[in-house]
Amino acid sequence: MNPVRFSLSVVTAPIHYVANIPQRLLSWSAEGMRSREDLEDENLRLQSEVLVLKRRVQKLASTVAENTRLKELMNASDLLDDQVLIAEIIGVDPDPYRHEAIIDKGARDNVYVGQAVLDAEGLMGQVIEVGLLSSRVLLISDISHGLPVHVNRNGVRAIAVGSGKLDLLNLIHVPDTADIARGDLLVSSGLGGRFPKGYPVGVVTKVEHDPGRPFALVEAKPMANLDRSRHVLLVFSEEGRRMLPLATGGEAASVPPPASAAAAAPESESPPGPAAPPAEEVTDGD
């Protein structure tokens, strides 16, 4: 952790809080001035949503038990439920070419560098800088961000890198023969050792096979509302905590995780074809 930045963040955090006041007032007044019908509508919608979710939870209990039994049979390590902490986004990076957000939790709340950040829909990004009262989150759509994923349907591994656009992720080094189709759900694979596995990342929106290119062109749309969520979840996973001493050891903190995963994950699936494009899009950070 950079000590200069850490101490400067004590000064900058209040500036972010002040900058956030107009938006907070706006949403507060919008909350306070909603009509009765709106609230009734919302109430109805939420109630039906709760019913649907409750039904799923009923099935979940038995599925989890079954899953644990099967995992025991396979001698695999158990999936522990992760602890989460709710944080609020108090600012976004004013530079339109960097996708970063500032949240209102910092070292005081045991936030650590490399921690995964989720919203209600899916994975949003990771913490790259921790101040005392606030921290900085790199979103998965940032051009320097890469993230190991696999297709939920069949487990095909890939690397999702940000494109600099909020609604687009690119899957790189996907062989033409890989079984990825439009509409496939991508979930984090946990291979980089930084993100917990199993959280939804995006939906494949486009698969293009161009004979002139060594790899298929695969695009995905992030599940998380990267530009809309105000409340996010910080995940305290066992894997993440184990990463901690490594992450604080210097420049490793700012390099996105899939540097190692990029080398490890696709090798089993990439054909012995033409030379792979240089991987600098993935490894370059900060």
Binding site: N2, V4, R5, L8, S9, V11, T12, I15, H16, V18, A19, N20, P22, Q23, G91, V92, D93, P94, D95, P96, Y97, R98, E100, E129, R136, I143, S144, G164, D227, E280, E281, D284, G285, D286
Partner: protein
């Protein structure tokens, strides 16, 4: 003009620079992020021209470091740019003071252009930054916002221009 010591208090300087820092990070709709005026350089240039014996390169450097921490840029990126334009503004302050407004705007165009140039040079040296034409739009908007800044800050100091 230098004789009036009452106009040389640092209170308005600190307040306006903090305000500029807030404006630099206040969330705006996506289309507006590219055309946000460079508030901090504008306010800094104003104060350098208005009281060059108190506000100068060191102020630019310190404010730049704060801005770096605020925006998550490489430490020193904005510090370098702001120190540079503080120096140029210091050298030219006697001339800029007597310029008509449109000519002042031209000077600001060049100064903020220098600042943006230094910023993108540092950014491209340390990380990948997509190169777009819109990056320079903020320079033009800053030049157009200059009369607003002189009016507002002049009012803060008791209806003086400089």
């Amino acid at each position: 003009m230098e004789i009036r010591a009452s106009g040389d208090q640092l209170g308005p300087v600190i307040v306006s620079l903090l305000l500029a820092a807030v404006l630099a990070v206040v969330p705006v709709p996506e289309w507006a992020t590219g055309v946000r005026p460079a508030w901090v350089p504008l306010v800094l240039i104003y104060w350098v021209i208005a009281m060059p014996h108190r506000i100068g390169v060191m102020t630019g450097w310190s404010v730049g470091l704060l801005l770096d921490a605020l925006t998550g840029a490489v430490l020193g990126q904005n510090a370098l740019g702001l120190a540079l334009i503080a120096y140029i503004a210091y050298v030219l302050h006697l001339r800029i003071r007597v310029f008509p407004v449109w000519q002042q705007c031209l000077a600001i165009l060049v100064l903020v252009g220098f600042y943006q140039l230094v910023s993108i040079m540092v950014m491209r040296a340390v990380q990948i930054t997509p190169w777009t034409f819109w990056y320079w739009a903020s320079v033009l908007v800053s030049a157009l916002a200059w009369p607003l800044v002189t009016l507002g800050l002049g009012y803060l100091r008791g209806r003086r221009v400089f």
